[in-house]
Structure formats: C-alpha cells, structure tokens
Amino acid sequence: MLYRSPESASCAHYLRNEVHRIFEDLEHADCLDEYSDVLHGTDLIGAFQDGRIHEDDIILMFSINGAQLYAKKVLSCWIYIWVLLNLSPTERYKKHRVFVGSFIPGPNNPKNIDSFLFPGLQHLVALQKEGLRIWDVALQHEVDSKVFLALITADGPGMMHITGMVGYHGKHGCRLYCGMQGCREQHGKHYFPALLKPLDYDVEDCMHDDIDVRHLPIPSYEKYHKNLCIVTTSPNQRQYRA
C-alpha cells in the first residue's frame, strides 16, 4: 500500500536514504554526532553491516500493552501494534501509519500471551521466509523485501509477560538482563535495586557488597542460555531452586 503512490513510496525510502547517510558519516568518524532515530543505534547499524537487513527490507517495531478500557471497572484488554520504521520519525507514529496488530480480550490478563501472539508472528515468519515482492513506484522496479522485526516494546509488567523473566520485583529484576542483584527487607518478598548495602543488614541471599554503578554487569547471550538450560532441565520448582 505504501509503495503504490509515489509520495508514500518516497516516504518509505527514508530508511534507504538514512542508512546511506549513516554509513557515509561512519566512514569519517567512529560514532555519530547525534542520535535522532532507532536507526542510529548500534543494534540496527550492526544488522545492516552483517547483511541481516537490506535497504529494501521492511523494519518493524512491535509494541504491546494492557489497556484499561474503563476508568472505574477492571476490564483489561491487551492490544498490540506494528510501527513501520521505514518511515521517517516525523511520519511513522501518526495515527494513519500505525497498524493495529490484534486485540486480546479480557477481562483478565492473558495467561499464556505467546498463544495469542502466535497468529500474528506466524504471519511475520511466513513473510520472512518467503519474502515479499513489491512494485516500488518511486524506483519503478520490483524489490524483494524481507520483514525484519527490530524492536519489541512494552511497559514493565508487559515486558515480564513477553520475555518470561521474573519481573521488576524479582531478585534480578532488571528488564535488560544486566543481572544486578537486588536487596529485600527482612520479611519482604520484593527485591529493590539498591546499590549500597544497608547498615546492620543480615538477610539471607542478599549479602553482596556495595555495587559500583559504573561497573554494572553486562547482559550476555551466554548467560541467558546458561540460565535457560537450568530452567528447562529442572523438572520442578525445588530442583530449580537448588
């Protein structure tokens, strides 16, 4: 649809032009002077350099959240949308450019959110595998486009559902998986990301020293895989804890 009219097709060429500009800039300098788009982050620049994304591809951002439909009634409905990162930042977040993905009706929060996301994601995977041939009016030739899912965004509790991690009150509560340990109160179940160890503090499994905020642990795939193995190989809660 975007590529049907010359105006909107040239809108969608923002990605192509911007990527060229970024690479030209990067030839002269180590890093960019200014960050004004997702494309300027190392994640997407890296993906372009590795050839995981091509300039004709369609890059998507996925965003999900639970919506409280009425102020005075507990009726939560989950909604997710797709945002097209091929468009310029001034254009892509507008109402007519946002694609509604799906609704997950309430009134309760979805228990297994993956099952609800499956149809949408399967559609995406199909496009990734088979590619999407598009007639580009502005270029006047056919392009072979793949779909690339660049970002998954949600708020704190939403992210917990998506990633399956512990959530913000957990011991390793950081949603970015940095793994910093939290501290809890004597009889509390919630952990808080305190940097300094409290005085006269004696709570089991929170006895680590002060944390230097300048040297936080760095998230890594290896650590995630290692932890994932522990989870999948534990038949029950008790063994997992051990």
């Binding site: 960050y35 909604i79 509604v100 970015l176 910093m180 409290p198 905020v213």
Partner: protein, 330 residues
C-alpha cells in the same frame, strides 16, 4: 515514557508528600524531605493551577491543580510538564537544599534524554547527571537504612541503563510507548457498544484493516483527502513557512491619516492616500507554533487565553506581512 513520566513522579511525590510506606522502627516525623503537606501542599496545587494560563498551546495539556487531581486521572503529559517543567520553580526553597540539588540532577538528565535529537555531549552530561542522581538518592533519602530500602523503586535502576540504551537503539522517545498509549486512546473512544466492549473494539480494528486493504487495492479511494495539504480553511500562506490563520477582518479597513503616518514610520515606507489594512488573528510560524494577535486576544477573558509570552513584532517581519496589506498585531 513510563519511567520518566509515571514511575519517577509517583516515587518523588510520594516521598515529598510522605505517603510512601513507612516500615517500623522508622518514623515519618524524622523525614525532613516531607514538605508537601497541609497548607504548603494546598498552595502548591494552586500555583500549579495558576500556571495554566501561561503555558502556550503548543505545550498541549497543561497540568491541572495537582492537589485535586493527583488520584483521579492525572495524565502522563501533565506529570511531565509538572515534574520537569513547573517543579523546579515551584519547589525552590520549599524542598530543602540537598534534596532540591538531587532533584535538579534528575531534571537535567531527563530533559536531555527526552530530546528528539541527542548529541554526544548531551549524552555524556545526561549520563553523569543520572548516575549522580541515583547514587545521591540512596545517600540522602535512604541513608543505608534497611527500613528505607523500598524507596529504591525498580525505575531507579533503569536510569543507569539509559545511556547504553540510547547507544544501542537510539533516543528513548523513538521506541517509547506513547504511540501505543495514543492508539489505545483512539480505539477506546471508538467503542460504541458498551454491552460487549471487547467484540466492539476488535470489530473497529477489523474495520480499520479492511479500509487499509481497500486503499491498498484502490489507492484513489484515499486520493482527495489530502489535496488541500495541511493548511486549514481560509488560511493564507505567506511563504517562508509562515501562514496566516483565521479569524480576519471581512474587508480591509481604511486607516485614518494619523494611523497611516504611524504605520509608515514603523515600516519605513511612504504609502500615501488611502491605505487599507486587514487584520488577522493568528499566525503559524515555521516551528509549527501559533501566535495570536492582540486584536482578538484582548477580547477574550483571561481564563480563555493561554499566554506564554508577549512579543512585539520586529520590523523585518512586518515588511513581509505588509506586502499582503495584512498586519497581525502581536
């Protein structure tokens, strides 16, 4: 979005108002940062409400009286303007110095991080400010007490990560939840049948998808909607991205001789004889903001105006307008 405009305001306000949980043997009366209480809190709320008329319309929704509305739907945008816009002015000398300094570091960091374009220099400053804020926060509020550990909300930890996240995926605004929250708002107001809201909502979504599909097949269906560009009806484009907007005088009015002289003097021109001038009420400037002229604005009561600043138009600019014989008095 949630971090800066919902979680942090919530935390800071619950500290300053003393509404955050207090674990024994800690005692609220020893908290010297609890300043927004009783009369001070009431006056503070009124000060927020009185700022309403002095925030320009380009700032969107100005904050309501925070005392009345804090528990009943205070919008994220209101929190944003309140905590990072009005706060530093209104809390100066109310909040004890060490807490105020700490708060200012937060503001600096968030201001820089909330920009649409973040330079390398901005990033360094923001990161230093935020690191210093988080470290100092534990120092001044928690004082390493076990009972105060719950002041350190999970959101405090995320501030530390902001720098890396900008380097990795660009400015936070690009990947923030504002878009989705707005979409939810848009869809929510489309619900027509409250008996079965979920079905109704998904039908609205399906209808959108249908319309999209139809437009994809037959692009002409959408065709004429945008033919007028983004200029409103009755406006006049005076080039250089300046646009005059309604209201305006129906007919150009002849000026008296003394007025013609004054106008000539002001514009350094030498028009003689009959000079007719048409007044316009509003002018859109290249930033997208709209200026209002005193002509119409003075007729409204103060409660209906949103005055940010009063300016007198400069000569160069008048020359531009005078060629159209229409002079917006600002």
């Amino acid at each position: 979005m949630h971090l800066a405009v919902l979680n942090l305001p919530d935390l800071m306000l619950s500290l300053w108002r003393g509404t955050i949980d207090c674990t024994r043997p800690d005692d609220r009366s020893t908290w010297d940062w609890v300043v927004l209480r009783g009369d001070v809190w009431q006056t503070h709320g009124q000060a927020v409400a009185s700022a309403f008329y002095y925030l320009p319309t380009s700032f969107n929704r100005p904050p309501h009286n925070i005392v009345d509305k804090i528990t009943s739907g205070y919008k994220a945008w209101e929190f944003l303007l309140y905590l990072y816009g009005l706060g530093p002015g209104l809390l100066y000398r109310i909040l004890p110095q060490r807490y105020f300094t700490n708060y200012c570091k937060l503001i600096l960091g968030i201001w820089l991080m909330n920009q649409h374009r973040i330079t390398q220099e901005n990033l360094c400053n923001a990161h230093l400010a935020l690191l210093s804020f988080t470290e100092e926060f534990e120092d001044v509020y928690c004082q390493c007490m076990q009972t105060c550990i719950h002041f350190i909300c999970p959101c405090m930890h995320l501030l530390v990560h902001l720098l890396c996240e900008v380097l990795r995926i660009g400015p936070p605004i690009c990947s923030s939840q504002w878009t989705l929250e707005r979409t939810i708002g848009n869809l929510g107001e489309e619900i027509k049948q409250h008996l079965n809201p979920f079905t109704n909502l998904s039908q609205r979504g399906i209808r959108r998808a249908h319309v999209n599909a139809l437009i994809a097949i037959i692009p002409d269906l959408e065709g004429n909607q945008n033919s007028g560009g983004d200029l409103p009806h009755g406006s006049k484009d005076i080039e250089d991205r300046f646009v005059l907007l309604h209201a305006r005088d129906k007919h150009p009015e002849c000026l008296r001789e003394c007025k013609v002289d004054a106008l000539n003097k002001f514009l350094s021109t030498s028009n003689t004889g009959r000079v007719a001038v048409r007044q316009w009420a509003r002018l859109r400037i290249p930033t997208g903001q709209v200026c209002y002229s005193a002509w119409k604005e003075l007729q409204r009561p103060l409660e209906k105006c949103r005055t940010a600043c009063n300016v007198k138009v400069c000569q160069m600019f008048c020359l531009l307008c005078s060629s159209h014989l229409s002079l917006p008095y600002t």
